[in-house]
Amino acid sequence: MTAIDNSRDALNATAGGVAASNGAPTRPSGLAGIPLLAPDAAKQTKKEFTSDQEVRWCPGCGDYAILAAVQSFLPELGLKRENITFVSGIGCSSRFPYYLDTYGMHSIHGRAPSIATGLATSRPDQNVWVVTGDGDALSIGGNHLIHALRRNVNMTILLFNNEIYGLTKGQYSPTSRVGQVTKSTPMGSVDQPFNPVSLALGAEATFVARTTDTDRKHLTGILQAAAEHRGTSLVEIYQNCPIFNDGAFDLIKDRTQQEARLVHLLDGEPVQVGPEDDRKTLVRMPGGGLEFVPAASAEGADVVVHDAGADDPSQAFALSRLDSPEMTHVPMGIFRSVSRPTYDDGVRAQVEAAVTTAGGPATDDDLAALLRGRDTWTVA
């Protein structure tokens, strides 16, 4: 599986921000305002970001690969460890913070985005991450997820999607497929699943990407882009649960099949799938629908060119709808990455403006004036 190098080039990190692919003004970086390591400091290592706690996931769990990727990637940010905080909810994935030697909070089921919102807004010097799963984020915590996305709080949400409840031992989740037989659906699930990417795009998300646990290079590239995005970045990570839903993503992990199924979203490029000798191109049909046609026959057709930075999320949404339970075509990469003012910057700006307008931080006299109010009387 190829990584996302092209879009990485387009979103190349610079000192203060990220250059947009279309020459638009420099975008503020998600890392702006966070102290950096001294330029002459020794290069950080994966080991420094690894806590002394024994990792307790099941053997073969996809979480190990994600953890290893994150531990290796974090030194690349060039931040001090004390300026990174991971907040999680409940579930297998939510044990994640215990294994990183940063600040961390393992909170309660579904609520991590709210806690992270409070932290990110009050502490602009913190690089805030949320680690969650399909049950945590999309079921019990669905409300907090959509509101974090629409507010665009500066943080990165890693949504480990294994399409099952693991920690509670194998019940179906809001991303389990219709018909899936689990402990709580012995006759098959009748629930329509969420498509996390479609959901996020519908919730006004400014950064939405999908990657997978086993493609380290792709995963790392997405993590980098997500961290640099200022606002809420949602990263869906397909993750295998070897105990309760083993092989859920085999069709796109199998080397003989993945090339025909994985659709790599490359910014500014036509959306294509398949090996070189059987390449298909996505085109817009007269009715408005998207369809893959043989590359050769796409000439002159309305070819879909990926534009992650488009203001209008319609095309990104349409790409997310290429998904199907059969995994015939599975888009991977950055669906959307647009710049929009963040909630936390806005909240802080109002407080700062109020303080500045009033002539600086409140003094004892200012407090006394507040307490007295407008109508006082004196008893001698």
């Binding site: 807004t121 009050s122 509101h147 507040l370 009387w377």
Partner: protein, 622 residues
């Protein structure tokens, strides 16, 4: 100059009652401000429906505002009004039962039409069928006089002119009780500054009301109530919700920490959110969350980051926040949970007062989950209680419940504004250094190594180098904070958390008032019942009986001497606006057979009723 006589009174209770859209709360607020400016002691009771505009002219749509003011100390908003202003038949019907014989009733006769009377079931007009013959009735065509007074205002519709009738009523009452109207004029100028004609119309209506009192023969005299004797100081009038918001701001100022409020709108707590939202200048951050849970999540996240996290709500919101409060207990982080109690269960009575969340605050979480509880006793006391809640939360790294209620929230009283220099310093130290060594002798940070004195754990905030650590809701090993499922460790941690809260220092002993020194009965209250209880006890003592009284402000932990106090009386009576929640705690904790006296009518206790209850208990012990 008026030729009318001026009579001196020592106290008056006035109730303004009308339709929800008649502006009775505003009228009451303005009269209160005028009264405060006169130096009277006072207490207020707004009473309004949950609906913003219930069907016009109906009983459910009646909104009222009661004000008690005097030349001496005022403890309650008063049981029965001396003056009722009834703006329509519904207001008269809803309030008449509370008005004692001989009281004054001012009636807006314009609204007593056949249709309006029929709407509430009056077959005859009570103004002239003898219903009101034992009252001193002033029939005033308030609406039409107001419209007439505004005849020159060509730019206003009749409806707009009618809307100024509350200012006419305020002007009339201001004349009756010789209240200055300058403050109201300034208030109107600010409110209607952008609409000069409406401003002018309101000022004209106010003046017309005043002149009406002065000139018509119906009002024979006006009244004066001398200023109350109060301790020296600078005073202002303040509601409980405002005092609570200011207490939080003052505490954050004295702690030199930012305050972060995460909240979801709910009656009757929303005014605290409004107040704090307007105080950004004091480094106050407010976030209106998507729900109650996110509100407290935001607050807890901010506390983790080193701010004073606060969430404000009422009973139904507390139910939703319970799991997050449990997390805060487990994480041992500071957090303030403000519960402005209202009638329950479920949605209950959103705009009416009750004290029925005590057991929810005390026990409403899974597991052994102790949380300190402070309950302010008067509107002004909300300031001190909020300040104290922040002290305990930050010093002991614990969530703290602040149990206000609807009566305190919206009621108001004069408040002796404290000097900032006299406010205690609330600064606490964040951890900055490793506090232990590992097996290799290397310095490490132990997030759950406690202060031996307070049992508080270190508050080590993100951004502090070398103190990176992880905390969570899973049981933590003592000292290291690592995940631990060890049976002995859980037993130890559970007891440590309980001991930390039980050992909170600085809680004053319960003070007992027993002027005769020979009382056998103790009346023990908590929270907002202080005023009615004190007034009832005063009445009983004035009648020559001995009775002791005490009031609890700290519900968890209790004052250290509470058991001793309870055991030194033959009988302890506990009046509370629930079905006996404090009584249950006291019986369980101290094995004392306290006698509950309970009421859940959505209204504060009546002084007269409480005095009767006390007398009955005294009688039984004879």
């Amino acid at each position: 100059m008026s030729s009318k006589t001026v009579q001196k009174l020592d106290r008056v209770v006035i109730r303004f009652a009308g339709d929800s859209g008649d502006g009775m709360q505003l009228t009451g607020d303005r009269f209160t401000s005028e009264t405060a400016a006169m130096g009277n002691d006072l207490s207020t009771l707004p009473n309004f429906p949950a609906e913003i505009r219930a069907p016009q002219g109906t009983l459910p749509g009646v909104s009222s505002f009661q004000l008690h003011f005097a030349d001496h100390e005022v403890l309650t908003p008063g049981d029965a009004p001396d003056v009722l202003v009834a703006m329509n038949p519904a207001a008269l019907m809803a309030n008449l039962a509370d008005v004692p014989r001989g009281a004054t009733i001012i009636i807006n006769t314009d609204e007593f039409t056949k249709r309006a009377l029929a709407k509430v079931g009056y077959a005859e007009n009570p103004v002239d069928d003898g219903t009101l013959e034992s009252f001193h009735v002033h029939p005033v065509p308030l609406t039409s006089i107001t419209v007439e007074a505004l005849a020159a205002f060509d730019g206003l519709t009749r409806k707009e002119k009618e809307r100024a009738k509350n200012m006419f009523a305020l002007g009339l009452l201001s004349w009756m009780y010789t209240r200055p109207t300058a403050g109201t004029e300034a208030f109107l100028a600010k409110k209607f500054g952008a609409h000069p004609e409406i401003l002018e119309a309101n000022l004209t209506a106010l003046k017309a009301g005043w002149n009406y009192g002065e000139t018509t023969e119906d009002f024979a005299s006006s009244y004066e109530i001398a200023p109350a004797v109060m301790p020296p100081g600078t005073y202002r009038n303040i509601t409980g919700n405002t005092a609570l918001a200011h207490g939080l701001v003052a505490a954050a100022h004295q702690a030199k920490l930012p305050l972060v409020l995460g909240s979801y709108p709910i009656t009757p707590a929303s005014d605290i959110l409004h107040a704090l939202s307007a105080l950004k200048r004091h480094n106050i951050t407010t976030m209106q969350a998507e729900d109650e849970i996110a509100g407290i999540g935001i607050a807890l996240g901010a506390s983790f980051g080193g701010a004073i996290g606060v969430t404000t709500t009422s009973g139904p919101g507390v139910a939703l926040k319970s799991e997050m409060i449990g997390l805060a207990v487990s994480l041992e982080l500071p957090l303030i949970i403000v519960d402005v109690q209202r009638g329950g269960p479920s949605t209950g009575l959103p705009t009416k007062t009750e004290q029925s969340d005590l057991l929810q605050a005390m026990f409403g979480r899974n597991g052994e989950s102790p949380v300190p509880i402070i309950a302010p006793s008067t509107p002004a006391d909300c300031f001190d209680a909020a300040f104290e809640a922040v002290r305990i939360a930050t010093a002991y790294r614990t969530p703290v419940f602040l149990l206000s209620d609807g009566y305190l929230a919206n009621g108001s009283e004069p408040w002796a504004v404290p000097e900032v220099a006299d406010l205690p310093d609330l600064q606490v130290e964040f951890a900055s250094e490793p506090n232990g060594v590992d097996d290799k002798g290397e310095p490490v940070f132990h997030p759950f190594l406690r202060d031996p004195e307070t049992l508080a754990r270190p508050w080590a905030i993100p951004g502090t180098p070398g103190l990176e650590h992880r905390i969570g809701g899973i049981e933590k090993a003592d000292v290291t904070g690592n995940i631990s499922y060890d049976p002995d460790n859980h037993d130890k941690m559970t007891r440590l958390r309980a001991a930390k809260v039980a050992g909170i220092a600085g809680i004053p002993d319960l003070a007992v008032e027993d002027p005769s020194g020979d009382a056998r009965v103790l009346i023990l209250g908590w929270g907002s019942t202080q005023g009615p209880i004190a007034a009832a006890v005063r009445a009983v003592r004035n009648a020559g009986h001995s009775v002791a009284s005490a009031h609890l402000r700290n519900l968890n932990p209790f004052p250290a001497n509470l058991g001793e106090v309870l055991r030194s009386y033959d009988r302890v009576v506990v009046p509370e606006m629930n079905l006996g929640q404090l009584s249950m705690l006291l019986r369980a904790e101290f094995l004392v057979d306290v006698r509950p006296h309970t009421s859940v009518r959505g209204l504060p206790f009546s002084t007269v009723d409480l005095a009767d209850v006390i007398l009955t208990h005294l009688e039984e012990l004879k």
